[in-house]
Point group: C2
Chain length 580, copies 2
């Protein structure tokens, strides 16, 4: 890698669930020159509050904001050192975060959990995305919205998640009203970290739209060719035109909740790739970066991955495949596609509608199977071969022709987000015989998730939103057999992101835009994005065989998922009753 | 155990798939005084013909008749020695056999495979019950019978098995016509072994009815109170009144098959417990038993177990639970109960209709699960606890309340015999989540087999054949958790056979009847049968909870099993195509 004296660099910082990663990227071509990871000292706080040792209730998940600052103090300088570039040549920094991860602060942005009086109060901490204790509040939000015919509900597939801002806010109000009252601001960590870097509060259009029920006006999106990403667009309407749910709706949930938006959330929204401000002296001290360089508006991990994979044009569907799969795509079409997590104008690329869909369980289903349903002899053989049990099963499964296992499964072990939006569904396996082997069921589960993806892609297209390319990012990329199954099942080539730290790269690209090195994220993606086209291509014969299995999947999907036989819900209720 | 000088003894010999067991039983009270097992030197011949080493085609299973004679030579004398009783006090011998296990012989009963010229011809050997290579012939028998409207088809649940006499006979004719032509007799091993003992050919009413399509006239069964089992009943009609399929039907299958019944099967039928003849000098030499003692008419393992468990009255359903479950019951009602393996007059107890139903997969489903779907950590923990993996899983499963697993399964991993009579079905598991553990799926499979039994019991009763008591025999008795599940699911107490060698005991009881020590098998059962009543009783609360799961089972049973969604058959065809 040639390093020239006049090269400029951007820093991307990816805040994950258990650690943060900083990467140093060359602005001219996206070369990743150095990176460093910092593990949070408290990880995800799910059982006891570290400050007091007090037990948390079930389904809670908290985080301490100083763990995030530590990433700035530790990982950023290490990444710069690893890159062996002069810090003086860094022109901007940007971040992406898990979402909805949200915390109550003072007007100055001080987390309430950092006030001495509140260190022992769980509700004063940041609630991590996977805090699931606000389900009753989410249920009331959905029921009330449906009863009132709130127009925004359809944008979210008819269902607001318990993970999102309003459910967590309502829980805070009703379980700890004092903390709620003292929370001058209730802010996404994605935006709070920017406040730490630039010293000013900003709110990004992405989390406001996807996690905060800010719905843009549904007139045509602005012409992307004329929309600059480097600063808030002057053209209307943009993703910042629109509104949150009304005071009346909030009051219907709880009279004391009426001011939630106006008092704690509302703030001008800033576009992705916009410049939130300049790096403060304090943050320069933490990071070792030059004071005054550009700090980009906050962003979300899945959404920054899209430009990192070069996907900034309508119809390019990026699938970030890990424990679950997040599908993000931009389009110039606004349509009510069933089962979306959200449709947000400017939510991924300024000037376009950003769609997000999801499969609730993918890698975690395979992990569950490997942990719970594979016999000892396989584990021993994998050890002997010096390979992971996943790889061993994939090798065995790959040796069979399509359909040879006689199985078809439904991939709902963790519920179904898209397109059914039903987290109370569960898995189904059909066709087992006393000759069925572990690798066959493993393969059937992989195929089921591919069928789930095909269902989503077909739903986009049926709703009038064309899907022109599939690009894969995320940890499951390493399973080549799985990738080939997806290509065959979807009957399409698969392109693959060219980085194994896609979110951090995508953040660095937004930093470059915020610093003015590129006019917008589309230009940055053209120079810095990395994609390998058509790495996997479908085999016609296998694809034909999969069509027959997909037809079976669809019939079972509708039978078990659309209420023809509501057995999965009844089983869940029996389970809950038995445990009560 | 007091042994008196005037005690008399009967010998029962149970011929299984891999070995034969002889037991010495005291006639007065059924006390089992000694037993011995002899393993067949060739076991079940499924890959190579021992005489030549030639490979057998797929799905073949043969046996060599001298392995059976060896049981008489080896196990009988050892059992008598173990019992420490004088051989001179043995008054009779009886046998039970696997069925349909059938062989071609000369008019003298010499197996064709024992003629020098035929030792290398696979078709000259006995075809074991689990020889499944005659499926195409069975399919033709069923299609032809259905097309011609043969009235006997309904007695067999609408389907003749590939395991039975006519399918095996047709295969013999069409694949080795020379052996077929030389087979003066085509005879069940159950009857052939009696020929060896008594020196005369007999044919028992049980295998003729259940495996040979001999259908008794459907007028009322004789009054059991007046029907003696000790000798062929003089009263008409009995199970010996009736007939085999017609020459016209056989000719429709193959013109050369027209004489199959008349030339190779037909012989006066003898009642169960009847005296076939007297022990020959040669057989006395083999066994060490007195020449001239009673030899009972041949019988079948499942059917002799019924009186061994004291079940000789209408409505007492005996379930012999092992790899599969066989349900036998006598009734004074003749009804076309869906899914029976057969309904045979005098087929279990003279004077009554004998019903046989079956579940194709029970213990083998649990074994499949334990071998293929339980992770290493469970195997290690079971080892640490010094218990079997089955017991470890059962203990873990038993700790949960009913329905806590959120699962329901269909127990068709080995097809479904009763009540759907469809061996091309396969298993289904519904409701898995990423929290589902191995013991929960294990329990769901146990419950599924219990639901399958409940379906059979309810089908009997719906058809007007009352079930008044459930009595369990067989290897699964050792799983107390499973027994309790069955009791709860069935909402009935379970009685349990009082012997762990039920078939051999049942045979010895038939020997006692044949020797005249009892007037009939009912009297023998009263003195010699062994049952522990109501060992398991249902818990009302669990039974209520199971009712909800059973309703789900029934809905899925009908959806997947009665053609509403024929996915299981389509998956099987896809599997066959992929493997072709």
């Amino acid at each position: 890698m040639n390093v020239h004296a006049d090269d400029q660099y951007a820093i991307g910082v990816d805040f994950g669930t258990l650690s943060g990663r900083a990467v140093v990227v060359r602005v001219s071509d996206g070369a990743e020159l150095g990176s460093a990871v910092h593990e949070y000292s408290h990880g995800a706080v799910e059982t006891r509050l570290p400050a007091t040792g007090a037990m948390l209730p079930p389904h809670w998940a908290l985080q301490g904001p100083d763990d995030w600052r530590a990433v700035l103090r530790e990982a950023v300088p290490k990444a710069v050192a690893a890159a062996q570039v002069p810090a003086s040549k860094v022109i901007g920094i940007a971040t992406d975060f898990t979402a909805c991860t949200i915390l109550p602060t003072t007007t100055e942005g001080t987390p309430l959990c950092e006030l001495d009086e509140f260190v022992g109060r769980p509700h004063a901490y940041a609630k991590l995305w996977k805090h699931h204790a606000a389900q009753p509040h989410a249920d009331r939000i959905n029921a009330t919205a449906e009863a009132r015919g709130e127009p925004w509900l359809a944008r979210y597939g008819g269902r607001i998640s318990s993970e999102w801002q309003f459910a967590k806010g309502l829980q805070l109000l009703e379980e700890d009203p004092e903390i709620y009252a003292r929370a001058d601001r209730f802010i996404e960590a994605a935006d709070w970290i920017i406040w730490q870097l630039a010293g000013v509060e900003t709110r990004n259009v992405c989390t406001a739209g996807y996690k905060g029920i800010f719905t843009a006006a549904s007139s045509e999106a602005t012409d992307p060719a004329h929309d600059g990403g480097g600063s808030p667009s002057a053209e209307a309407p943009t993703g910042t035109d629109g509104d949150y749910p009304s005071r009346e709706f909030l009051a219907a949930l709880n009279p004391d909740f009426a001011g939630f938006v106006d008092d704690k959330l509302r703030h001008p929204l800033a576009p992705l790739g916009g410049r939130a401000g300049n790096l403060t002296a304090q943050a320069a001290g933490w990071t070792g970066l030059p004071e005054g360089i550009a700090v980009a508006v906050g962003n979300v991990d899945a959404h920054v991955t899209s430009p990192a994979a070069g996907a900034v044009n309508p119809g390019q569907l990026v699938m970030i495949m890990g424990t679950s799969t997040c599908h993000v795509m931009v389009s110039d079409q606004l349509s009510e596609v069933p089962g979306m997590c959200g449709v947000v104008r400017d939510g991924i690329v300024p000037g376009l509608w950003g769609y997000e869909a999801g499969q609730s369980g993918v890698g975690d289903i395979f992990a569950w199977f490997v942990d719970n349903s594979v016999p000892r002899s396989y584990a021993e053989e994998a050890e002997r071969l010096g390979m992971s049990l996943h790889d061993h099963l994939a090798d065995l499964a790959a040796a069979q022709p399509v359909g040879a296992h006689g199985l078809v499964a439904l991939d709902w072990h963790n519920g179904n987000r898209s397109v059914l939006v039903d987290h109370d569904l569960s898995g189904v396996m059909v066709g087992q015989t006393i000759a069925t082997r572990a690798e066959e069921q493993y393969r059937a589960l992989i195929e089921a998730t591919a069928f789930g993806t095909r269902t989503i892609v077909e739903t986009f297209e049926t709703a009038g939103v064309p899907v022109t390319e599939l690009i894969v990012a995320g940890g499951l990329l390493k399973n080549a057999f799985l990738m080939q199954v997806y290509s065959d099942v979807l009957r399409r080539p698969l392109s693959v992101i060219g980085s194994d730290q896609g979110p951090a790269l995508g953040s660095a690209m937004h930093a470059a835009v915020a610093a003015g090195a590129y006019p917008d994220i589309r230009a940055a993606a053209a120079s810095m994005g990395k994609v390998n086209r058509d790495v996997y291509t479908p085999d016609a014969e296998r694809a034909d065989a999969y069509d027959a299995l997909y037809a079976e999947y669809t019939a079972l999907h509708d039978y078990f998922g659309r209420g023809i036989n509501d057995v999965l819900h009844r089983l869940r209720r029996l389970r809950a009753k038995a445990h009560s």
